[in-house]
Structure formats: structure tokens, C-alpha cells
Symmetry: C2
Subunit: 353 residues, 2 copies
């Protein structure tokens, strides 16, 4: 009895080297060499091959190629989420990767070590040239080091991992927080609040240390409220900071731990009719373009986010070239707007919105 034809035949098998070779009446080796320009081919033959390629609209299967050659020309990037800070870093990576002739792909992990592990495996098993990682809370460097093959270099960015040998590029977070407190002090504020992200990652920890140390040095009064590093978290931490239960402590100035929390915190202030730069001085980590168009403009601790991306790629390049680059700490800049209490007069006359 004749068997029925299977229904799900793959109609269009993809065109391979062999198809091209047959059509051009040459060997697959020749086609490969034409494709890669990797040995002399008679002009006439080359033309025939090229024509066959065009006619069949052949495209090399890079998976096969990579399996053979072992490298992909692709850099993998793991970010925590698509917030504006990381997207700035990505722009830097893009810029740096281009002249090297590489490409890169991105995946986001959330603040979730399990997911970061999974995506790390995606990157490893796709044999990336290298992997750039913003390490999440819970990052297990021992595990990573044991799992990643020696020929796939890893570079951490934005967040160091304590006790690991992995090279990293981060911002001078400690110094940034310190400067902010010092600036508040110069304005004469004595009671300083800090709206901080609760994750156990180096950037927040460093900011916390810098804050605490400077508070102590200048003999100020402070209060830190930690919450999720999100809009909601910023709102909540603000609420707790200004809670009526804190009779003894209503902050005159507040430092905010990142850009997302800032939005939530500003929302809180607006709802409670607290005027930025007048009733409460505010400085926040992370510059974004919109910080300039609000009134008063935000005073922010600005990271070199794009440069962070560029640097991460450079470090990666060095590792690939067999060097052992050192950790990099990028400068931060206290960029003065009006939200910290500076330029009150200018703000008043400039009060357009």
C-alpha cells in the first residue's frame, strides 16, 4: 500500500553552497572562495559563480560557518532593562563596535539572576566573540567563571562584583554621591534624605557609602529610604521620607538614586505641593534630556554613559588581543541646574511653564 505523502514537507529548503556550485558548474570550494575572497579565482569563473548566487539569491548560513570557524563576529550584551541609562550605554557600544567590524545583540534580564543565567547561556552557546554584562543582584561570579569558556571574554559594566576577578567599567558612584552631599552642605542644608534603590548592586552600594561618609564628615543629619529602583519605588520612598511620623526629620534636601526613582519622587513632591528647589532641594543620579526642559532644570550627577559603552568594548578588545586590562572607573560630573537650590533668582524670572 502506497504511503500518503507527508503533509508537512518543507517546501522551500534553503539554498546552499552546493546548489550554487551545481548551478555555476564548479566545486563548493570555489564558491566558498568567491564568497570570502580567500583565493584567486579566474574572472570568468567568479562571474559565473556570482551570477548563480544572485539568481538563487543565496545567503550564507552563518551558523554552519561559525560551527566550522568557531567565531561569530558578534558581541553579546546583557542589560538589566531598557531604561534610558542603559540605552545610552548601548549607543556607546554601537559606536565602538562599528569600526571593529563587529555587530552586537542585546538582551535584557531584569534584576533576575535566573534569567541572566539563561541569557548568558544563550550568548555562550551562540559562541559570541565576547559578552558585556551588567551584573544583576545575586550574580554568582564563581558560577559564571566556571561556565564561560576561556575563549569568550567577559566584561562587566555599570556594576562591579565584589570578590570576582572579572574586569569591569563603572562610574565613580561613591564620589558622585559624596559631591552631591557636599553641594547640599554648601547651600546650608543640614537634613539630607536619600531615595535609594534597594538592590544589592555595587552602584547603589557605592552611592550609599559615599553619601554616608560625607554626611558623617560634615556632621549632617540624614535618612535613607530604600525601595525598588522604579517610578513607584521613588514615589514610595519619598512618601516615607516625608511621613508625618518623622517629627524629628523632614529633609531640606534629597538625593535620588536613579532616573526612574526621580520621576516617582517628583510625582510625590508635586502631589504634596512641595516645590522643587524651594521647599525641597533635589539632586538626582543620571542625566536625561528631559532634565533640562523642566522647571527648574534638574541638578544631576551625570555619568559618562556612552563612554561606558565605548570603554567596555575597548576592554573587550584588549582581552581578545590577549592583554589583561584593569578596571576602569569613569568620572562623574555634578551638573548644576536649579533643583538643588542654585540660581533661584534666575529660575523665578525664567519661570515659563
Amino acid at each position: 500500500m502506497a504511503q500518503a505523502k507527508p503533509q508537512n514537507v518543507k517546501v522551500k529548503k534553503s539554498v546552499t553552497l552546493r546548489d550554487v556550485a551545481k548551478k555555476a558548474d564548479v566545486s563548493i570550494a570555489t564558491v566558498s572562495h568567491v564568497l570570502n575572497n580567500t583565493r584567486e579565482v579566474r574572472e570568468q569563473t567568479r562571474k559565473r559563480v556570482q551570477q548563480a548566487i544572485d539568481e538563487l539569491s543565496y545567503h550564507r548560513n552563518d551558523i554552519a560557518r561559525e560551527l566550522k570557524t568557531g567565531s561569530s563576529g558578534l558581541v553579546g550584551v546583557l542589560i538589566v532593562d531598557y531604561n534610558p541609562f542603559y540605552t545610552d550605554v548601548l549607543r556607546g557600544i554601537e559606536e565602538a563596535v562599528e569600526p571593529l567590524g563587529w555587530k552586537f545583540v542585546v538582551a535584557s534580564t531584569g534584576e533576575n539572576w535566573e534569567k541572566q543565567k539563561e541569557l548568558l547561556h544563550v550568548m555562550i552557546s551562540r559562541r559570541m566573540q565576547g559578552i558585556l554584562i551588567a551584573a544583576v543582584d545575586g550574580f554568582d561570579s564563581k558560577y559564571v567563571e566556571s561556565v564561560v569558556p576561556a575563549d569568550i571574554p567577559i566584561v562587566l559594566f555599570d556594576r562591579r562584583v565584589a570578590g570576582s576577578q572579572m574586569v569591569s567599567v563603572t562610574s565613580m558612584n561613591f564620589e558622585g554621591a559624596r559631591q552631591a552631599v557636599e553641594h547640599f552642605y554648601q547651600h546650608g542644608y543640614k537634613k539630607i534624605g536619600f531615595v535609594l534603590g534597594k538592590d544589592l548592586i555595587s552602584s547603589f552600594q557605592d552611592r550609599k557609602s559615599g553619601f554616608e561618609q560625607e554626611i558623617k564628615r560634615l556632621n549632617l543629619i540624614s535618612r535613607i529610604e530604600e525601595d525598588y529602583p522604579s517610578i513607584e519605588g521613588g514615589y514610595e520612598a519619598g512618601r516615607r521620607l516625608f511621613s508625618k511620623l518623622n517629627y524629628d526629620f523632614i529633609p531640606e534636601a534629597v538625593l535620588v538614586g536613579n532616573n526612574m526613582m526621580l520621576i516617582g519622587f517628583l510625582e510625590f513632591l508635586r502631589e504634596h505641593q512641595l516645590r522643587v528647589g524651594v521647599d525641597v532641594a533635589v539632586i538626582s543620579f543620571d542625566y536625561q534630556a528631559w532634565c533640562d526642559v523642566i522647571t527648574p532644570p534638574m541638578t544631576v550627577i551625570r555619568q559618562s554613559s556612552k563612554k561606558m559603552g565605548v570603554t567596555a568594548v575597548n576592554i573587550l578588545k584588549q582581552k581578545i588581543d590577549g592583554n589583561s586590562p584593569d578596571d576602569v572607573r569613569l568620572q562623574v560630573e555634578l551638573s548644576i541646574g536649579g533643583s538643588c537650590g542654585c540660581m533661584q533668582k534666575i529660575n523665578r524670572s525664567n519661570h515659563l511653564f
Copy 2:
């Protein structure tokens, strides 16, 4: 004469199935089956294999696997840049892809067809399950259709391509612009400006048509200034719109074409002491969180950006399952703040910043 050992021996060859098989004293087939749970294996054997895997810290080479199986479980996404709108879409994609057990990777092309072509090839040659594309200005659908294998479905998002058969998910841009003009009209404004991106992409074109049609219907006076869809472009277009040379036309209300241009445009207004919602009514495309914390809050035409991502994935899924899904046009919402001139009183009393 003995030859010198080559200097660049690859010290650490990666661990393969074969290594594991040897160590566990089984065949590679068995190891493969243990890994993939694809046939019964005696408990004892399974344990031995698992142990070998752990001891060697073996990780499957997915490149080889894909070469064999032909599919990758990866979705490729091509965005134009990492602006907040696309990152919202990405969050939607992430959400939708997760329950399907897929992963996705992103690359950004700029408004640059050549680069988009290159990255499209990266995606094709890595044999993605499917590819989601925000088509750039210059997108050649004929070319794409000829180049992409039949078994890799493509879904366009954010931007349709005229005259192509490719399925797309976009926002009701026409309707959004129309509503904005109508809203201005209800406020009594007669002279309406439009700060628009100059790229030839469907979203801008649709917004332009919607704007023009409603202007005509309501018999209003208008002026469109096109520029790069960036902060600088927004600033420049604003400058031209309010140029002293336009004696006959100084806009009472301005529609802004996207979020980036909005920032530039707001910068322009501030510099020239034009008060938003008082001297000039403003409505902008694209909601971002910061739009709520400025004064007055922005009135925006809000796209369902996250839903766009979810929908794109759903469409992709349908195509993979062999269906022929239709184009989707997502609802937009005119989200009222104070910048359009609404709630003047509330703004005044609420004038915290």
C-alpha cells in the same frame, strides 16, 4: 629537523558531547538524549551522564544544534534606535515571547537602509525563528522579500511599507493627529503648527495626512515644519515655526511629531520665554513618564507601545503556525494634561516647580 610547536595552540578546546560520552562511558547519542529528555534512559546511566556533564561543566553548542535542527528559538528584532518608544515596544516583545519559551535579541539600525540590510542578514544567517522590523526610510520590500527565506516570517511594526505584502502592526497615527487638531479647534485655536520628522516613513506620513485633512475640514490655518526627528530637529523646526519672517503666521498651538522633537521644541520655547499652555498650546506624540512631572503636564497622543510589541509577537506566532494574519492598527489615546491649554486654573494653583 623537528618543527617548533606552534605558538598559538588553542589551549582550551571546548567540551563536546563526545568528551562527555567518553567520560560517562556511553555513546554520544545517549548523552544527547539525556540532555534533551528525548528518550528513556536507565536511571543509572542518566546519573552517570549527568555527573560527567557537571564535572566537565559541559554546555551544549547551540550553533551545532541549530545547524542540525534548522531552528534557533530566537526572535530577532530590528529597531531604529534605542529611543523610549522602541524600548517600550521591546518590553512588550519580552512579555509576549517569554511564555512561548523563546528568547529575542535586538539590534538597532539607525534611519539607515544599508545598515538595516546588513543587520537583516545577520538575523537571517543566524536563522532566527522570525524577525520583527521597524522599517527605515528607504526600506526596499522587494529586496527583503527576495532575500528572506520562506521559513523565516517577517513582521513589520511601527511603520508600514507602502505597496508591500508584509504584515504590520502600527498605531492609528492618522487618527491621532486628527484628534489633536480637533482638540486644538475646540480650544478655539485657529493657527496650528506642526513640528514633524522629515523621514519618509509611514508613521510621519500618516500623521501628516491626518493633520492636513483635519485642518482642511475645520478650515484652519496651518504650517508644517519638517526636520530630523531628534532633539535638535525639534528645536530647529520650532525656530522656523516662530521665525520673525512669518509675519502672517505665528502659531497659537503646535503639534509635535515625536518625543525626541518634543524635548528640543520645549527647549526652544523656554529659551524664547514662550509659556507652554499659555502662550502656546502644545500636544505631542508619544507618552513618556516624565511628561507627567513637568508643569504643565503634557497632553500627548499616547500609543500602545507595549501592546505593539505583544501584538507583533502574536502575529509572528500566527505566521509560524501557518496562518495569514492581517495588519493591525492599534488605538491611540489623546491623554489630556495642561499643555494643550486645558486646566489652566488647576495649573496655576498647582504651580509647584
